[in-house]
Symmetry: D2
Subunit: 318 residues, 4 copies
């Protein structure tokens, strides 16, 4: 992640301009406000603004005139209760705004979360920077043979090198041709006065999906947690998970009590289907279950056994 | 609007607790933060928190690293442009949170605006205060005879007095009976130990629709303006318009540039239908139009004539 | 639930008007289309229209040109997979539209589900019918002493009778006074020509919250299931649960495969928090847990023990 | 637009399978149901399903038991009224589902409309077809020199030819390399058994933004019209406008009364700002206005003059 001197200067000015406010303030989050937190090779997330804190959730839940409860322990009790019982509206009363730089193919997954506000850098109006995501060799995974949406083992040396070369060459060439079509120099004038530049809104179609884009993205805490539950999950694609993980760190700074409850009741939780629940009850009553007699579909049984840490002998025949 | 001493004290504490922040701050809005602004006889709106300011809209529109443009005049130009061309996403980057006390029948209109976050005081868990909306005599309008959704002239003295008596008596009696059914004293114990109290979630059904409720309501600036465009409109019911007008004052303090653009391009604007546009063009070309030859449906033509201030002779036969 | 002869005739006409369509059709749902299904004393739900069926979910998940899979068993497998892994978008491709008649206090809970389309009968324009919800004695529950949002045992005979009398009297009187204020006879003329009628939008504030209202309510299948998960739950208030239960029956007719998956993976499922999961693993490994050593908060442990059917000796000291 | 024989056969089966329904049916829309309507060089829209018709809007607006009004003229009157006064909820009661094939850069604009349901063909699971959007020479516009988001005149012959060559070559090469990285033959086996294939979710990043994707897209009529108002507008990019225009034709078949009202009150309407309204009033009163004395910002005045067809002499000095 490289910032231009102008970008760095712009951020520094913001970080030096402090004012008084009567609003709730979170020092741990102020400590990183505006600072880009690196993700992938050229991406970042930056917290641009926030509204509310843990106490604001309590305050909203109680529709109170003041700041909520007196003691932090009471706040934690209520927040745990709300999250455990799926009372989402108090969490919607906190809001956070990010500036994110991310590859277009990640942006396309991300945007599927509709309950957020987004303002993207426009390639109709502006020229896209020459920055592409090139995976680190350690993340260059083969297609999983067992799971159509999964990654298998990491590509070997020569195969990996060839893939990386192709990615670099193709994104480089398409971007050079994009620039040639635009025919604009840095001052916005024709680079080659003898020919016309193609409209920006058309030229962009020549870019590859690993080109970096940027957007402002703003969500309330409830919807942010929903996003993180799905995208910080091991089943999510590594590239978007890298962003989700960085946002989890921000969550911890911003609303530590809620973040702990989120780990307990969402990230670290498991859902037992009706059949899985019946199987667990039978096992707790002393019955010995296996794939054949458990009453749970095969694939789900294997996941369940892994989640419950059933010992290997029990799973021997699985 | 009466605050209890405890409520007043809670607000005072908040107003005395100032901290440093790097976030954008709006002094004119801080000046009234947390303070209840009276609406109707017992209602209020209070600004509880806010995110962003006029510059934050520009910043988001440009997906910028710093604070947007250098000059306020540039900000105004861009904000006007965005609003005029229906670019809504930059305005979604500002957010505001209100605590509102309002009659239930107003709450039922208000909640139809779905793109907001709401946390309402729960009559399943809590006991509703004995406060009802009783209109001022000046707002006690008769049913309009020409317009099914409109108000006609104000009720005369005796009729008005009788209506007000009925409203007061009925809401008073139903609330007394609500309390009797609950059978709870102030300490939450049985007022009459010889009988059981009805569940709160059931007893509430005996309350009338002018009973006051409360909620926290949070919306982004784009959706707030959409709400205000519909509810600060002369066609809106007076009671919800009173809230919208109070929120317009808040808007002016918070984002004065956007508020001016909103007055210019939304509140003070008119929409000409295709037929109305054709009629205006003919009139500008010197033609004399009337209801019969204007090509616009009758009711719309009258509205148009009023909006354009067509002189009375032109409208003589209307 | 009483329909007027005109309403009954209107429905009969619809039920006799059959046309040809190329769209997917669900005979089991057509069998009850337009028919009011009674809920509470005067309420109902009626299916007005629907889009899609089980196969349409598969079709959307595959973005296919034809109708999805060849075999129903394949459809079931995919639908189970989608629901288990929280892939919600294919379920959003089915849509259903209801006409619902319900007490206002239930409508106020219901409307909190924002991801639906609603068109409510307007008391600004129209006059509300004289119909109120009066609970059956069996549902006249006392306030729970242990749970602020819960119901306790049913009120005894004399107490119940008195409550029912009050509910009937108060809703009757407030509605009579509402009518008096309106001063309109059945033809929309002044009942008493010597005085003016109050505007409808004002008079309505005198009605009690058990007055019945009506609306058209339309939702996609994903959001309908989310609604049902929360409102067909034992923690939901009985009155809204009665509507959710009736809608569950409709779900079964409309999309039987999805409905079975919904029972398995949502309604009949349980969520184990991280701590609860750890406790279950210890128990499966042979450890004996109780409230003191389980590592799960007390209230949650009790719920867990009940869900898992832990034997009473294990819970003796709870 | 080319369909494979299998795709064509799948569609034919659907078009031959007619059933009886009690739901409202629209023969003009049934006539094209499931049929791909070509857009751009390889894209299409197909109507997959629909709910409701013009009468259903009236029915919802009246919360009626039957089918709405008796006469079509009454329906038109009410629909015009609703649209003119921004009553959106009755239009939300109709729903339509499309299958759309479109270039990725168009999909990225389209998805910004959040109030719709979308299920996209997944390049994590599946392999993208080798189909790219290559503009017709007539649409190969130069960048506008006066308007950063606009297109200028069409590129001349040699320049155009070179651009088209580059677009074809780059999308062809990146797709060949995508295939090489995947290393899968048509049966899903390794094309070259000596090396591993890159995970699909990674390989896709090498594709260019003019690659075609597909999705199912479902929206209610209100939100569809909002989409069309913005995207069938001359300011919209030609490529997305081509889709909007095709959808307008569908709208006309589906809900002809609403479509006419939409043309009158949205597509063909103009918004006069407060200043523009003041200027029009002065002109109607006989005053002669020009850029200097009109009180309207310069750019807006020019647009207004064009909309009102002010004669060229009046605009001479503009």
């Amino acid at each position: 992640m490289n910032l231009s001197p102008q970008q760095r200067a712009d951020i520094d000015i913001l970080r030096q301009t402090s004012t008084q406010t009567l609003r709730p303030t979170v020092p741990d989050l102020e400590a990183i406000l505006y600072e880009p937190l690196p993700v992938l090779d050229h991406g970042f997330i930056r917290v641009i603004d926030y509204m509310g804190d843990d106490a604001a959730i309590v305050q909203a839940a109680r529709v109170s005139y003041g700041r909520g409860t007196k003691k932090a322990s009471d706040d934690a009790g209520l927040i745990n209760y709300l999250l455990r019982h799926w009372h989402s509206t108090p969490f919607e009363m906190c809001e956070i705004k990010f500036h994110v730089k991310l590859p277009i193919f990640v942006a396309r997954q991300w945007i599927r979360h509709r309950t957020a506000n987004v303002n993207e850098y426009s390639a109709r109006y502006s020229i896209m920077d020459k920055e592409f995501y090139i995976p680190e060799p350690a993340h260059l995974a083969a297609q999983s043979s067992s799971n159509r949406q999964g990654r298998g083992e990491v590509l070997g040396g020569a195969d990996a090198a060839q893939v990386l070369d192709l990615l670099r060459e193709d994104s480089g060439r398409t971007h050079r041709n994009y620039h040639w079509m635009l025919n604009e120099n840095e001052d916005g004038e024709a680079a080659d006065p003898s020919r016309q530049g193609l409209a920006r809104e058309l030229a962009r179609m020549n870019l590859t999906l690993n080109t970096y884009t940027q957007w402002y993205w703003k969500a309330d805490l409830h919807n942010l947690m929903h996003f993180l539950r799905l995208r910080a999950d091991p089943h999510a694609q590594y590239e978007i998970r890298a962003y989700a993980d960085a946002m989890l760190d921000v969550l911890k700074r911003w609303v530590p009590i809620t973040c702990a409850a989120f780990a307990e009741y969402r990230l670290g939780s498991v859902v037992l289907s009706a059949s899985a629940l019946a199987a667990v009850k039978r096992m707790l009553a002393g019955e010995r279950l296996d794939e054949a007699n458990c009453g749970v579909p095969k694939r789900e049984w294997r996941e369940l056994a892994a989640q419950l840490g059933l010992n290997t002998r029990m799973l021997a025949d699985v």
